[in-house]
Amino acid sequence: MSIRERLSGNEAVANAMRQINPDVVAAFPITPSTEIPQYFSTFVNNGQVTTEFVPVESEHSAMSACIGAAAAGARVMTATSANGLSLMWEMLYIASSLRLPIVMSCVNRAVSGPINIHNDHSDSMGARDSGWIQLYGETNQEAYDNAIMACKIAERTGLPVMNCYDGFITSHSIENIELEEDDKVKAFVGEYKPAHYLLNKAEPIAVGPLDLQPYLFEHKFQQAQAMREAKDVILEVSKEFSAMTGREYGLIEEYKMEDAEIAIVVLNSTAGTAKYTIDRLREQGVKAGLIKPRVFRPFPYAEIAEALKNVKAVAILDKCDSTNGAGGPLYTEVTSALYGAGITSVKAVNYVYGVGGRDVRTDDIEKVYRDLQLDVANGIQGTPYRYLGLKG
């Protein structure tokens, strides 16, 4: 039986980590992810876990310690946000290229500057091509569930996983949640048995050798191939998770898309606000729908194209700008998905929204659907690269 609880997103993720009882957690505090190592260090102190907790002096060291521990054969978890992720940059690529299944909760926050502690997606989106699987969660429930599934996904694919969810909105809000029992979570993740690891005295190995022109290209292809195959692994692990909890997860979530004529594609907590808005619009006869990608890396191109093929217009919402002079990262991917599938009938526009924690109201989401109705009626007037809630 699941346990009915009310927890913040960070409390929920820290509890998932307690239940998993990883071998090593190395972390450095940064708002809004600080509570994860804070709660977790309490679990360590209370003897509720047997984890070696490494309180390092920077995020670069946090990821370095995670890499060393994972290479040694440990199951490893950490957490960070924003500039903390930036400081890990160099090591993110080392972790993924060494194929170490590290699980990191990335509590999304604007990367400074100007300095800001609130939610947007500029941190994890900046790291989207670092070779990490990226899961995105709408609620504290999804952050908790993804943290548990991330362990298995990472270990089966040999790729590190980022568990992304919105800073403050999800990380610090108390909401209802269904927790699983400790023994069930432990049984679900099982024991981690790496194929090769440094502390295996029966097989001395060398990790991270020089990889020059004859080799690096092939190793990068291996990573890309693992990322392609990760789609099936994610679905397989999600199916196993659903068998335990009854909670279903795919690569994308569709909300009222069966007959939708206009749709929004958006990540994380804003999807919930959009669902609320869709219900109101549907009462007025507006055929509005939503697609929430749960997985951004690997990107579900085929699934999104399939889900969008019958709509007349779609707005892709990005909680950060690519500052490429055009659209945000989600927009670029979704329009690529449509183009790749040969779909040219769908009008696609981009909204950059919520940057630096700018609150997104139901009115804002309704405006997007109203704009889409006009785009359907009159064609896209002016630029498809739009900003939602920007002053001026």
């Binding site: 108390i174 209802n176 609150d359 109201r361």
Partner: protein, 192 residues
């Protein structure tokens, strides 16, 4: 009333408005509701105005924005009146609950023409009488439960005694004082 109840808290950093909003979420959760409790984080300074929010519903809550048209507003410190637009967006069929020694009629003039129900509670006197110190949290929590009717007095009292037993396991001597503060607050809200 719509199934979804939205509440906005105004306080000053250090007074426990955030904690009170979380206590309310807890109490509603324990009666089987779906809840949200979240503060609006800003620079964390003692005395600076802060805002916290609650959503309470019989159904799952998906909306994840701040609250702009609350059903109820709680003001933990009446010196905020005039400094902060506490009635902004407040529904006319809702109510505002203010921690003050003054009466509702004396305060109505400071509420930007708000026409709905104005309630007051003297949390300071109750707190000092019952707890010996000024902790506005518990009285304000009881006052909003009373004014909003989120739950019956009896269910609320039963839940709070359990919650205090857990929270104050190491200092049970304060449980009686807190329960007395709640009972008095439920009865001493003015303007109902």
């Amino acid at each position: 009333m719509d199934n979804l109840i939205e509440i906005r808290w105004h306080g000053r950093g250090g007074q426990g408005a955030k904690t009170a909003s979380l206590l309310l979420a807890d109490a509603a959760f324990n009666t089987g509701k779906y809840i949200q409790g979240f503060p609006e984080y800003g620079p964390e300074r003692m005395g600076a105005p802060i805002t916290a929010y609650n959503r309470i519903s019989d159904k799952p809550i998906t909306i994840h924005s701040n609250i702009y048209e609350p059903d109820f507003v709680v003001v933990v410190d009446d010196t905020l009146l005039g400094a902060v637009d506490v009635t902004a967006g407040l529904k006319e069929d809702g109510a505002i609950v203010i921690n003050s020694t003054k009466s509702p009629d004396e305060l109505r003039g400071l509420l930007n023409g708000y026409k709905g129900k104005v309630c007051t509670i003297d949390a300071k006197t109750i707190s000092i009488d019952c707890l010996g110190k000024y902790f506005p949290n518990t009285p304000m929590l009881a006052a909003i439960v009373k004014v909003s009717g989120i739950m019956e007095d009896e269910a609320f009292l039963n839940d709070m005694v359990e919650s205090f037993k857990h929270k104050f396991a190491k200092k049970p001597e304060v449980i009686d004082g807190n329960m007395e503060a709640i009972r008095r607050s439920l009865n001493e809200v003015k303007g109902l």
